[in-house]
Symmetry: C2
Subunit: 347 residues, 2 copies
């Protein structure tokens, strides 16, 4: 099933509003999730929405909560999410980081007691849209064994960096080989196997079975380095926030306890270092230097981070967003039970 | 050949002073390089010193240069290294970053026209020793093809993060599978092969030959993610600094042009978020959570970043630092030509 972006975003907003989410927050969550589908990152798109709705029922997401600033000290702000939507916490904290960087050149907001915030890129890009370099990272439910271990202790702990100015480069990566949602996505799409290197079974043995991987562990990116990056994220988010660390964090698929994730938002004003037009010119030149490399065997061209998603976005804005059978089934069921009309498919 | 730490550091300092390096800078370079050997990171230790001495002769390192602050704007400082020793630039900029974070909570110094600064961990740790979270990254000579490419466009572009308080965790990693110096080290140690996944030949084909790899390309960590992290480093260092980018950067093994590397130093005052004793207690607890995982097949225990090096440091402080034949031969030749007495081996 393929739908226009606007129809899906409006549909998602209605599902949220009927679940008791105030209109502004419902819009923020709906738009940010649908934007991820638009970019082709379906793992962080609307397939998460039925999970969010269940988490509202479970009390783990408190849709009316606004959270509050615990402290502001120089360029540093500490925020208590009070189980609000992660997207709400992310929007508020991104904007605080931008404000602080306008005053100091740098601004850093760290939130605790937050929830899943969707794709990290949406929030780094929010900072970038305000004219600053945006960096966001967050801890997540334990699905990864630390290097040399076989029990889950770390999350996929993603890193996203976005830049002001025209679209040149946008990084959003889990510190595992892949994000867990990619395995969920494989399952929802009915793919029985996943590539080697993605996951281990519950005993720590490598697996290519989608079903086994869902109950198993993700592999850290490049072994000890991925584990090191995931710890860096854990420290800059959860150690600093005073919030839940490692196995204390819940998860978007876990109803038994609140997610309690911590998130960090860093804003850097590049104009404290050089004029914006120079920044944009240098980024344009740097990306051109990458693309000037001859392509490796099997590739037609060199792409940089962000390129694949922007191309899909252009195509999906035109042709609509395809949903997997699994994702659409869950959304339709939610719509029926909430008495929300289904969106019209793309023509 | 094995030498006590103090004898090697003093020997290195003499080699530098006889090459026209002022005493303070000679001490800084000698101590920081020897500290890397002490930690077992021989790739970034004294085997670099003969290269540095050649770079002084070539005019690419200007040993009397101090560099200068170009601008200071809020928490952001821009520095021109003026081809000074990278270690000098790193010490000055680390200290500026700390000072700025004492004023604002965050401080960021970005340097251009610098030189190789040895192991990044020495400088993140310098910031940590001043009570802050220290992060440093730098661009480096192009030895890595961008993802989907086969021509060198990116450096090993390392990331190091160090923490104040007792030794718990210390990250220092290239964004390639390994640092180029590890391949040089394999060569100096007479090892003819390297593990798969480290490098490609000059045509972009994977190789396990040390000799071929030295003339070839390093592989980015985990493919497109390593490439993305390397670009992040290039942007936060070289785009912001206004200095050399990508193929414009020289290299420690390249006499034909100045290195012109850019380096970034970020200091975060954790006490703007929580009391230092809470930070230390939480780090202790987080590391214990990692170590509570059962070890995977083939391992006795879970270690975190920093553990292997601190163990080697303890042993080498006691038993001395072994130098490879290749590294020792080059240092001895330099000593003979500079008329510097050789250090006494460990007893």
């Amino acid at each position: 099933m393929t739908f226009p972006y606007e129809a899906l975003a409006a549909f998602a907003q209605q599902l949220l509003e009927r679940s008791g989410v105030p209109s502004g927050k419902a819009n923020l969550v709906a738009v940010s999730l649908t934007a991820s589908n638009l970019r082709g990152v379906d793992s962080h798109g609307l397939q998460l929405l039925p999970q969010y709705l269940e988490q509202i029922k479970a009390g783990n997401i408190q849709p009316e909560s606004d959270g509050h600033v615990i402290s502001e000290n120089g360029a540093c702000l500490l925020f208590d999410g009070e189980r609000a939507f992660g997207q709400h916490v992310a929007a508020v904290c991104s904007d605080h980081a931008v404000r602080l960087s306008q005053a100091h050149g740098l601004g850093m907001a760290v939130a605790r007691e937050s929830n899943h915030y969707g794709a990290a890129a949406f929030w780094s890009q929010r900072i970038a849209d305000a004219g600053c370099i945006g960096i966001t990272i967050c801890n997540a439910s334990s699905l990864v064994a630390p290097w040399q271990g076989k029990q889950p202790r770390l999350g996929t702990n993603p890193i996203s960096v976005a830049l002001p100015g025209p679209r040149r480069w946008l990084l959003d990566m889990a510190t595992t080989t892949v994000a867990m949602n990619k395995i969920v996505n494989a399952s929802l799409s009915g793919r029985e196997t996943i590539p080697p290197g993605w996951a281990m079974d519950a005993e720590g043995n490598p697996t290519t079975s989608t079903a086994v991987a869902i109950k198993g562990l993700l592999m850290p990116l490049g072994g000890y380095k991925g584990s090191g990056l995931a710890m860096m994220v854990e420290i800059l988010c959860a150690v600093l926030s005073g919030g839940a660390m490692s196995t204390e964090v819940g998860g978007v698929y876990n109803r038994a306890k609140p997610m309690r994730t911590s998130q960090m938002f860093l804003s850097i004003d590049p104009t404290r270092f050089l004029p914006m037009e120079d920044f944009v010119e240098r980024m344009t030149r740097l990306v051109a230097m990458m693309k000037s490399s001859a392509p490796a065997e099997g590739f037609d061209e060199v792409m940089v981070a962000g390129d694949p998603e922007w191309r899909i976005e252009e195509q999906r804005r035109r042709d609509g967003i395809p949903l997997s059978d699994g994702a659409w089934t869950a959304l339709r069921e939610a719509a029926v039970s909430l008495n929300v009309p289904l969106p019209s498919p793309a023509s």
